[in-house]
Symmetry: C2
Subunit: 254 residues, 2 copies
Amino acid sequence: MIKGKILIVGLGPGPEKWLTPEASAALAIATDVIGYIPYVERLPTREGQTKHATDNRVEIDRARHALNLAQQGHIVAVVSGGDPGVFAMAAAVFEALDAGSEADKATDIEVLPGISAMQAAAARLGAPLGHDFCAISLSDNLKPWDVIIKRLTAAAEGDFVIALYNPASKTRPQPIHDAFALLRTMKKPSTPVAFARAVGRFDERIVLTTLGEADPATADMSTLVLIGSSETRFIERDGQNPWLYTPRHYGVQP
Amino acid sequence: MIKGKILIVGLGPGPEKWLTPEASAALAIATDVIGYIPYVERLPTREGQTKHATDNRVEIDRARHALNLAQQGHIVAVVSGGDPGVFAMAAAVFEALDAGSEADKATDIEVLPGISAMQAAAARLGAPLGHDFCAISLSDNLKPWDVIIKRLTAAAEGDFVIALYNPASKTRPQPIHDAFALLRTMKKPSTPVAFARAVGRFDERIVLTTLGEADPATADMSTLVLIGSSETRFIERDGQNPWLYTPRHYGVQP
């Protein structure tokens, strides 16, 4: 029997320029591509390759499907936007594996990293992640909201730069409002904030503001929200958005 | 006068398969490449391109040099391993810009993201960064040690997965020992720990252990240390290292 395999592929934020050669090669050899509809649909159609596009929130079914196909000898690319290891499909595949059979655990699996949304956002803005930072998902689909509160509190107490994933969706508009309300009790109003939407795609939109001035409703499902540490600052420029960066030093100007 | 430019280029963890097409293109058009010796030396020599390899710890001089060359019309690639926005050269360039002249601030600059060490490590290990995480540099060259203590404490209180950059060096062997001593007072001994050294390079070495069992001296300058949250777990496999992952859910098994 042919030995199948699962390749968990990071597509990056969207543009080809950010797709690694490793990910390109995986997409070229896969017999099956599995993923959330918009990611699968934007990939070119290839002869002999079957696309399985599924809706959001069915990650475990998708992972189970990939395991089954791999065990039948298929080369399955499970695709995620960004990095599959960061709030994406890799954890779902390993959850399915963990709950699965010995055959599942023996499946050949490889994770192919990609550029995550916070990196594309940071690159566009300057260097806001230049110092210690946290990445927090505001989705409470799979974790209790009090865990999110605990982590936002810890992130503010630690004075980390904070990258917020999944800040809001149509059915879940509230988290980003609640997160900002909390952070406003803990951090200065002058703290820089960036809403970086769909960076690298045609509908990219950047909003630079401060914690005091920010309208949390600026964030949608495609937005990565960055909130500075006490050291994060803007550099004003003529005729362009200011740069946003976090120095490598802290408190002590070298 | 020809308009110069600075491209702050992420080389990723090492292998070509993780170098983005955007970064490859930048290296091909640059008139000058500036960076830390090992990164610059491993790049191919190109006709008409000048390499400026400098020692570690001179990031600001390097950034200043890049600004000067760009203002003379050069296309300058400032290279970093990993992602230049994550504990690397991007913040140094913006620090130099911030302290610089109006001409500096008008310099055309672009940041090109790359795969960072924690992503390569996570991909190799499974999906340890599958849930909320922090990235902390243990270098106290530019920040007071008490800030590092504050952040490690907050990261443990928030039950984040923790990625430690710069855990140790020959002249600075102590931080990783002190960090583990602190984390051992706050997190369970059974917490999974990974030492992921030089992932993707010929001298890659992975050590999987627990917080209770770990020998902090396993970490060197090329090691990314990952410490799990309370949810991070191993999946045992026959004849291979176990997988390491953090589920997307927290506390509540769906």
